[in-house]
């Protein structure tokens, strides 16, 4: 297989500097993404998954956040070293992003056609008319009926699903090499979610670009991604292909996440599995494994030493002491036994 690396993130560290001190939102995150590949980043709120994507886009200004270390190599160039001007050239043109909230992600005072055309004109030498025609083509591509009529409408005249389609049209209007979707379906109805996901997938397959899907929903990952990075407290705790992850999760946190999803076999009377405890405060991260305080398998070493992200086989990585020493299998039912849930 030919390896055409689009994005290589190496030891990325992004911190927020607040009155209470440094807050490490993304702590030593590394991954590579090949052309045509799709990577899912999954984790709960505050795990650093969105900050990872904003760091790649270099969109942290306006916040107190800053990239403090690492490299983001995109098509052979380190984005961390780029100036804002160079980033403006890349954003929308080579890397695009779809946001979570389609209801508020469009300018209410401009027609959707103009908004797409504006992005095209920002990056390509096209006159007004050519850009408008390209915009209508994009609307057709994302499956909006009557694109000529819709292009002249304002965002408030469109439903949430339609607006997310418009957002996708804007994002892909310059055929980017990398598309980052940050919770693209969270704000949508369940029926629309499936449509949007298959649209994103279809477009990615057609263009051959790379995709990063950021979500807290493992179902979305299962449907759209090839590989998955599970993030917890700013660190990747497990990296696997989608199939491997669902088949045999290696990190206790992943096991917990998978157990907390209801399935067809789940007894409706039975309570769903809950991971005990809370995500630790980013100001007081545990000394050892971040997950140790909540982990039913934790032993002394977990509380004192931070486990390394170790390669189990192939591209499979996991950050857990238990896996390093004995390669233990955490069966889902064992998870339920300790507290009797």
């Amino acid at each position: 297989m030919e390896k055409d690396i689009v994005l290589q993130v190496e030891n990325l560290q992004t911190s927020f500097f607040t009155e209470d001190g440094e807050l490490k939102a993304v702590n030593d995150v590394s991954f590579t993404l090949e052309k045509g590949q799709s990577l899912g980043i999954v984790g709960e709120s505050g795990s650093g998954k969105s900050i990872t994507s904003l760091s790649i886009m270099r969109l942290l200004m306006g916040t107190t956040g800053r990239i403090v270390g690492g490299k983001i190599v995109f098509n052979g160039k380190d984005l961390v070293k780029n100036t804002e001007k160079q980033m403006q050239e890349i954003r929308g043109n080579h890397i695009s992003m779809i946001f979570q909230e389609p209801m508020t992600s469009l300018n209410p005072t401009i027609t959707i056609g103009e908004q797409i055309a504006e992005t095209i004109r920002g990056h390509q030498k096209k006159d007004r008319k050519a850009a408008w025609e390209a915009a209508i083509k994009m609307l057709t591509l994302v499956g909006i009926p009557e694109p000529e009529k819709r292009a002249k409408q304002y965002p408030f005249e469109l439903s949430g699903g339609m607006r997310q389609r418009v957002m996708i049209a804007i994002a892909i209007s310059c055929q980017p090499d990398l598309l980052i979707a940050d919770e693209p379906t969270t704000a949508l109805d369940v029926t629309i979610q499936a449509q949007i996901l298959s649209l994103i997938k279809k477009i990615q397959r057609k263009s051959g670009g790379a995709l990063i899907m950021i979500t807290h929903d493992l179902g979305v990952i299962a449907e759209t991604c090839d590989t998955v990075a599970v993030m917890y407290c700013g660190k990747i705790v497990e990296f696997a292909t989608v199939h491997e992850l669902f088949e045999s999760p290696k990190h206790p946190y992943t096991v917990g996440l998978l157990s907390s999803i209801p399935s067809h076999e789940t007894d409706s009377d039975e309570d769903l599995y809950i991971i005990d405890g809370q995500v630790p405060s980013p100001y007081e991260l545990p000394k050892g494994c971040m997950f140790a305080p909540r982990c039913p398998h934790s032993e002394d070493i977990c509380k004192n030493e931070l486990p390394e992200l170790t390669n189990l086989y192939g591209s499979r990585l996991v950050r857990c002491h238990m896996q390093q020493t004995e390669g233990r299998e955490f069966a889902n039912d064992r998870w339920k036994s300790p507290s009797g849930r």
Partner: protein
């Protein structure tokens, strides 16, 4: 006429302030445009025989100390007042909006410098500031426009800065930045159109204030110079003959009052119309 247009018109006419204010303003604008057709006399034509006449059939608002027809002078005075009001608002508005949006968008030091500068301007009583500018630049209608415009800058800057702060935090600004838009495009294409309604309201209300300020400057003798008919200077001259000839101050005073009330009604109505949530 489509149904939605009809509904919009109905909403406008239901807003009594907006309708009444609008009618008054439109009447004055018509008066200014068609002054030569409406005024029965030349506003500058003097006549010793007709000095200080009380209102009559021929001179419905009487004549002044130089025998000029008061009604004709008021009609022509509308031009000066409207031009000063609108021109100074435009000038002050453009400058104020520019600084406001820059301060709100960039924040930090830029914001601090601009906002402290507006605080300094606001600390001066408006008329004192205007008098200082007149003292520097000399009197005349153009100077009045500049003086009143300077006085309008800080209020525009403040309002626009506030709205910009709110708009720039909206998600669509991030979304636009994520597709490669630069600051210039974001500010002028995506923020300004979304802070337009408070600007329009402020501009309307400002015209009223500007007209009063201009009249005050002329009343003090540093504004529009004689013999150009101007309401403020008409009140000022009329003051000397006020006891025997109250019409000399009454009518120009009424004109100022009516126009400014009309503009303010219009502005308040416009605010209710554009930002209904704030009032209900």
């Amino acid at each position: 006429m489509s149904v939605s247009t009809k509904r919009k018109l109905k909403k406008i006419f239901k807003n009594r302030q907006l309708t009444l204010g609008g009618v008054i303003v439109i009447l004055f604008i018509l008066l200014a445009i068609f002054a030569p057709l409406i005024a029965p006399f030349d506003p500058l034509e003097q006549s010793m025989q007709r000095r200080l006449q009380a209102p009559s059939g021929e001179h419905i608002m009487g004549t002044d100390n130089l025998g000029r027809d008061v009604f004709s002078r008021i009609v022509y005075g509308t031009r000066v007042s409207l031009v000063v009001g609108i021109a100074s608002t435009l000038m002050g508005g453009i400058v104020g909006v520019f600084f406001g949006v820059i301060a709100g968008y960039y924040g930090k030091a830029v914001d601090t410098v601009i906002m402290r500068a507006t605080d300094i301007l606001l600390a001066f009583p408006g008329i004192l500031l205007a008098l200082a500018i007149v003292a520097i630049l000399g009197s005349g209608t153009e100077v009045v426009i500049i003086a009143v415009a300077v006085w309008a800058v800080p209020s525009f800057a403040r309002i626009v800065r506030g709205s910009t702060l709110a708009v720039k935090k909206l998600e669509y600004i991030d979304a636009i930045r994520a597709v490669g838009a630069g600051d210039f495009r974001i500010i002028f294409l995506h923020i300004l159109p979304n802070v337009l309604s408070p600007i329009i309201v402020q501009a309307t209300l400002n015209v009223g204030g500007a007209i009063v300020s201009a009249a005050v400057l002329s009343f003090l003798g540093v504004g529009t110079q004689a013999p150009t008919p101007e309401w403020g200077s008409m009140v000022s001259t009329g003051r000397q003959f006020m006891l025997e000839n109250p019409h000399l101050v009454l009518f120009p005073g009424l004109a100022i009052f009516l126009l400014v009330v009309g503009i303010n009604l219009f502005g308040d109505g416009l605010r209710d119309h554009l930002e209904p949530k704030k009032t209900k």
